[in-house]
Assembly symmetry: D2
Homo-oligomer: 342 residues x 4
């Protein structure tokens, strides 16, 4: 009953099996191997256009590298005030960009709006101001919500109009795809997304993410940036094979679907507890909920894992489900919560 | 017959097996898991003192983070002109330090000497000069040679005398340990080494290295630096377990011993070829050798993998053996070389 | 009638005369000259304690260097959302710190409060978060208001309690000193300020500011940072002498007093115009005022210089007076405004 | 008798007079003033083509900004091992570029050669290597010698062929122009120079240099870089006017001619001293000479200012003349040296 995060999970058996199989013989290093070559093709199919793929091991690396590719040191990145890049990466985007400025926007439900960006967007070309460079959004958001294709397209249109790049932190991209029942293309480049941090770690990989670049003009020397940041793996096949297996036969979507279902089930159960109040709509695999302290205490006593959220004493929790969450653990958690509330 | 590098290998079966075993259940993320905790203890035993351990996935990350921990942006790193940090990391140490200066030294056999450092060491405290900060050596060196404990100690003494930190790039540290039949402690902190990039990838891991910090005063905010560089893994157990299995039962030394033996065998065989000339003593698992062009052509035709070295047309090669190199491949390579030369 | 900024002014005659006088003969370079040596003593008297002094030529350099001295690359600087460092320095603090994060706070009248800082202050030591490092305030603020000694002391106490450094951007420090009739010491280190950007350019120098460091422990390698940023002048005497003349005989306070008086006179006159509304209290030498468009048009037609402020179409202006502002220009400006409004 | 450096001098009277004159009235800030506008035109005339001009106050700023404009963070700058950017700027180029690598070349007489660059030039496009980006030369060199137009053109041709930018550190550019009796155009863009740090401080200004950009494609966002580094002056007229007066009526060449003549006179006199040996040809205003210790002691005793050069105990000195050096001081110095040597 560990709902602390989707990164407390192990790896999906399919991915481990593929990793084993990839171990045979020698292979060209640094991405010149057969698996890495195939991977680019595989991603191009999934996104219905040719894409460039840069596998890395962490979401922070994917985000920071992608943002640095489209943001000069004197650039501004418009992002949500609660976004991972702003609050959970110890300044990685600032480091990788050489000192760009993140402009945190406070918007409802974890989703920034074109109006919020426009309200703080400065005129470009005035030498005193850090220069507008990029927008970064999270899909799934840090509030567990998802941007609809229209919402993304509205930001994409703004970005295009104002000469900004649009980056998507897709640490939980698969969960968004199944939540929206939309195509990966519709959620990204067709809506104006230039670069995507495509996450796999939280949804079944050991440690594998990919920077997907839709527009070759946005490549931005990413190959040098990745190497220079220590994120180019010598035995790249072991990174690429995780992503290949993740995509193979729709595993990524199957895993995400399960996680989302478990979240819906858990949310429904907890929300029906007396005194409970969902803080955000539960649209993917994260639940933000206020619960009476007695309920929280009972969950803790039973060893249910979660994070306190928000200000101390608020009684708000975050619970995250994953590809490996068991329905019986969900039901047991609900039972504990309701038993106590009665 | 792939001797291009020790990074064309897969992973050792023992390490893969441990990885599988580590997959069970959930685990605290970001290094708070049980395996990561045990790992620190294990390294402390091996180095005969308490050490701090920061697992990362690449040697470039280990080197750049370690150097940055002891080198301010205005610092100078004294290193060999052929060192990996100088020629093969696309400026990673400069990136991680925020712009420190690498001072390349040309010394014989890949090994820098105290005299070479002293010859270029500027007086500290003069504001116009980048400030002396650290020495970085590679063990095994980029010439395939090893520093003796005394050679390291001489650099360690200089470092101490001049207020410099001493870093060791141990991408092939295991190969040096078995080559010298010395204790890890004697090769590092007892000789004055402050930080070690402890390599495992080339010698059997999938992608795992560890920054070992011997002196707590040299910690240098490494935890923040690692996170900020995107090198803190969420599912850290999968990184830590590779290192644990690597150390378990002496696997690391066993693997390295095999690689070194294969190199000795290959070097002996090739050196006996007419017209051959070893460029450096073969002391670990790398061979640098000049061969007649006809021999090189024959090796290439037979599909033997290696790198051309030095200036074009020089006829110099680098061949690297590994934990997984087969004796029959070594012998076949020698036969091809000698058959042609005859 | 140019009220666009206090940086459209020339230099005070006393400062120019001192510059001429300093030209005699040769002098040791890089700050080893006699004037620079005297300057440290002079500032120590003015601040009633021994201080370290680092003259530079621009306010941006002073701010960015001072902040970098107390903020690591992974640090957070808490500042007002309208502060010069956040909106007018093209990311200089981010550049000089190596990528620190500025956290913009929206507070009334240009003055941040302890409560506003505490509301966003994260727990230190959690590796995922950029780390709380410093607070930076402007005195005079970007709204033309001044912090009282008590307001500064409250921020100083918070800083001390939470292990933060407190930096003051004193581009208009003299104007604040005379506005508050407080001692420089009371407005700075006695209230908990660790570093001050002491401005002189806007108040009579050609181009001269000084970083004043009150706590030697906060020196933070400033000498290397300044040199490395190209801000160590070879003919330092010409920088130091401006500051010396600025302090000599109270010129800095005399100049500031005049500027403040002119602002009060202008503000009073304009505020009495029909339809006028002061946006902030006028406490130093800056006026923010909303005026009817017809009044604005009349001022523009008469060649009165000012900046539009806030959102387009708001009818808000900023007018700044200086040491060289003539009373007759103030009165003429008022007459134009009132004539029209009638 | 102060020959320590040409930066121990004050400013030329013509420049001071112009500064005084420029003080009248208000002026648009940040370079929008009339003097700054004229300055661009003036430099365009002198260089016989349209150029972009970025005035700054120090040579380190000019060099580091210019190099950063044409060198990415993962770039390599080829330069002389004794160049100012390598040994005297505390890592400024590394700071401004975001971590580029300076590759020091040891060549005779302070002048790098195309062959020396080619010997270490790596193939571009290999992700492991820092990427060839620029060549930086000093004119006058740090050995007091000058590059002939042909020598520059040879480097320019190499740069063009290999896709590198060519930067010239012209801290003593005027001294080179008069030494070679060549046109500024022939010494720069006609020979392939892309950016010039045009020095004025050492030759009569208080603190004024200009980055001259010959090729608009090499502008490299210099305006943002300058602002962000704190090198955009608000009262820019005071910087621009120094440069304007410096160029006016050939003052820059007149001053340099005098300095060079004084150096020739001093060099001739000292070289005739028994036991003296010039280390480099004296081609501009710097003298490097080995003298018997007794001579050195006599010079020191007489209060003659100079720097010891090279390794301690070598008896080598550097003496620098300037626009303000008096012939009688030169003759007195020679007399002291010769008197002793007798």
């Amino acid at each position: 009953m560990n709902f602390r995060s989707d990164n407390v999970t192990g790896a999906a058996p399919e991915i481990l099996a593929a990793l084993m199989a990839a171990n045979e013989g020698t292979a060209a290093s640094y991405g010149a191997d057969a698996i890495s070559t195939r991977l680019k093709q595989r991603f191009s199919e999934i996104f219905e256009r040719e894409v460039a793929v840069f596998p890395v091991a962490t979401g922070t690396a994917a985000n920071a590298l992608a943002i640095a590719a489209v943001t000069p040191p004197w650039g501004v990145v418009y992002c949500h005030g609660e976004s991972h890049i702003q609050v959970d990466e110890c300044g990685a985007p600032e480091f990788f960009t050489g000192g760009a400025k993140l402009m945190p926007l406070e918007c409802a439900d974890g989703k920034i709006t074109p109006a919020a960006v426009e309200a703080v967007l400065v005129e470009p070309g005035i030498v005193h101001s850090a220069q507008p460079a990029s927008i970064s959004i999270s899909q799934v958001t840090e509030a567990g919500t998802v941007y609809t294709p229209d919402e993304i397209a509205a930001l994409g249109a703004l970005a295009k109009r104002r000469g900004l790049a649009l980056h998507m932190d897709g640490a939980r991209f698969a969960n968004a795809v199944v939540a929206l029942n939309a195509s990966p293309a519709d959620l990204t480049w067709r809506a104006g997304v230039d670069l995507l941090s495509f996450g796999a770690t939280k949804n079944g990989a050991l440690a594998a993410e990919a920077i997907i670049v839709f527009d070759p003009a946005r490549l931005g020397d990413l190959a040098y940036r990745r190497k220079r940041a220590g994120h180019l793996f010598s035995k790249m096949r072991f990174l690429s094979v995780q992503l290949e297996a993740y995509l193979e036969g729709g595993l990524w979507l199957r895993n995400a679907r399960h996680a989302n279902r478990m979240a819906a089930r858990l949310a429904e159960g907890l929300a029906a507890t007396r005194g409970a109040k969902l803080l955000y709509p539960v649209q993917a695999n994260e639940i933000f909920i206020a619960l009476p302290e007695a309920v929280i205490a009972a969950l803790e006593a039973a060893g249910v894992g979660f994070y306190r959220w928000g200000a101390p004493g608020e009684g708000s929790l975050r619970l995250v489900t994953a590809f490996s969450t068991r329905a019986e653990d969900v039901d047991a958690t609900i039972a504990i919560a309701r038993g106590t509330a009665r």
